[in-house]
Symmetry: C2
Subunit: 377 residues, 2 copies
């Protein structure tokens, strides 16, 4: 596809102003006559257009000034990325194949839209638990540590935690919005979205000033799925919009993953359902995500352990737990709590962390020191 002309660019900006991305009548007109003529017809309220489409787009078309929109976008440091542009990502062509490609992407930020080849969508509910916050941080942070970008929806909850973890690691992160890239939504994310723009990208298929309407989130979700190599649902209730992103990922042949959670937490119900009823793969950390979406060889290297160095860097309580944990025999957390003279709940939590760090081992009968520490003791 050749580089778009200015007229095409204006037409795509104009069409994205007058119709929603899932307007199939508008899509049909574009497919038949091309974007430039389609925009002319809509602007002129051409009789050849279906009456309903004319009625639907007439009001918006009268007030539309895509040339001015583009100038405002440039003034904000943004740009309109269209099919044919160098920055147009090949991944969006998969949406073209199912008749769901965006007309254009309104983009703002330091990153590039075509640099998302090594990216994963990390999504979840807005109302999340401490567990969801922890897992979003662990997975997006772990991906960032390995140079992978996180794509998410900019919402509060899991999305926000995922963006933040990527930002902390200094890796690009992309917020795909259901409103204009100049609209701060949710309002509490003013600083976060500013940081995302500075280090990565704010992306939308809606023009400047558009509000985040309910149905737009669902349409937007297909872009989260399409732009990344795979989607991880971190924590989601059974009615979460994050599940629609997962369904789009499955439809697009992208890897679909979910973090399991306790059955007793309704906030993990959607993740567990996804794992139960679909081909989604259960993942527990970033390494497992990359085992699926990563490049063979480059991303599958085992992580260095350094257990002894890690032990020496432990906090006070954790060190007491390590000292109270036997070398050979597995014992229960209660026994370790007794020896360490710490509350059992706290000891269980620390043992789980130590286990994740590879410092203790767990079996049927409880915990003992990991091999590396057994040798060191």
């Amino acid at each position: 596809m050749s580089r778009p002309t200015y007229a095409e660019r204006v037409a795509r900006a104009g069409l994205s102003r007058v119709g929603e991305p899932d307007d199939s009548a508008l899509r049909a007109v574009v497919a038949t006559v091309g974007v430039v003529d389609a925009w002319e017809m809509v602007r002129a309220s051409d009789d050849a257009l279906p009456a309903r489409l004319r009625a639907r787009t007439g009001g918006r078309a009268a007030g539309a000034d895509p040339g001015a929109d583009l100038e405002r976008l440039h003034a904000l440091g943004g740009r309109l990325v269209c099919p044919g542009d160098d920055e147009w990502p090949a991944s969006l062509d998969d949406l073209d194949a199912i008749g769901a490609a965006p007309l254009a992407m309104w983009v703002r930020g330091a990153g590039r839209l075509d640099a998302l080849d090594r990216s994963v969508a990390v999504v979840g509910s807005r109302a999340f638990t401490a567990y969801g916050a922890h897992m979003a941080d662990a997975i997006a942070g772990g991906l960032a540590d390995r140079g992978w970008a996180t794509v998410s929806g900019g919402a509060v909850g899991v999305d926000g935690a995922a963006h933040r973890a990527a930002l902390v690691s200094g890796v690009s992160t992309v917020a795909v919005l259901a409103c204009g890239v100049d609209v701060i939504y949710p309002p509490s994310h003013r600083d976060l979205l500013t940081s995302v723009a500075a280090a990565g990208l704010l992306v939308s298929e809606w023009p400047l000033g558009c509000s985040p309407m309910r149905h737009r989130f669902l349409i937007r979700n297909r872009l989260l799925a399409a732009l990344s190599r795979g989607t991880v649902v971190v924590e989601a209730a059974v009615r979460s919009g994050a599940l629609s992103t997962a369904r789009w990922a499955q439809r697009l042949g992208r890897h679909t993953m979910a973090v399991p959670g306790p059955v007793t937490s309704a906030m993990s119900g959607g993740c567990n359902q996804l794992l139960r009823e679909t081909d989604a793969v259960l993942v527990t950390d970033a390494a497992e995500v990359l085992e699926l979406v990563g490049d063979l060889g480059a991303d599958l290297a085992p992580r260095p352990q350094g257990a002894v160095a890690m032990r020496d860097a432990l906090g006070d309580e954790a060190r007491r737990v390590v000292e109270a944990t036997p070398v050979r025999r597995y014992v229960t957390p209660d026994r370790i709590a007794q020896t360490a003279a710490l509350p059992a709940v706290r000891v269980t939590s620390l043992l789980n962390q130590l286990c994740a760090q590879g410092l203790v081992e767990v079996s049927d009968e409880g915990f003992r020191l990991a091999a590396a520490l057994r040798r060191a003791r």
Copy 2:
């Protein structure tokens, strides 16, 4: 197969005294000459036996008195169930097909071994968490409510909780032991094992008096898998023996299921690994277990709700939470905690319970009343 003669019964009792069930040399002799002659050869330390087998079984054979063993078993109210007996369950023939059938089953209790057609193995780690205890109770109890028996290993932890839940519901439960059915192991389960014998069955392939040795648990696990229609791993660390039961279930073509748990809990690591790496199906309650192992029609009926009646039966705090939960709009647990003037942690826990009972609904944005209560309010 015809009913076994007394000589055959004695031979099977004798052979199970002198060799472990995974002794392939002994198995080969039995397959070649039959149980009666095999027992005669072992007892006489026949030169035709492989030298190693003779060395292995000689000492035990000298002290063996299977006739007296059977008398002691009968005196305890037990019986030896052999292939050809009415009580021999057809399910064990699947082990025969892979050369792993038991010689005989030492059985003690009020139940019948051939009445396990509607049973599920519910297994897990000995060191378990409150979550594992809750889920074992919920699943074994839910199965019992629907008339399904629970098969488990009689151990502390998940096994014990599963047996107890079945006993409370007055449904048969079967403990498949790695020691003689007269041996109380673990010692803390004296009362539990007595109750299991009274309401169900204690089962073993080892004769009276045999100790629970480490390798016996792994051999035993194939019987747990074979005797039931499917195996559910409730909570298990990555090195748990419960995973070997799951692998046997898969090898035998039985349904294999696991309850997911938080990634942050090492005690759920084995369950999550099973779900990630094998065909095991994620289950969250007894209804989902029966959806897999149950009979079409008989076991798939939707459960009655009765939400309004359930609301009226709630405790004080739960009622306050219900009253603080909005009818239409979803709100966060924090908001509900504020309105109800209860601690947020407690409210989250109650909301999850209410959700499981179908009294509140959960979405991306939080919780609201379920439809049945919305109409009732």
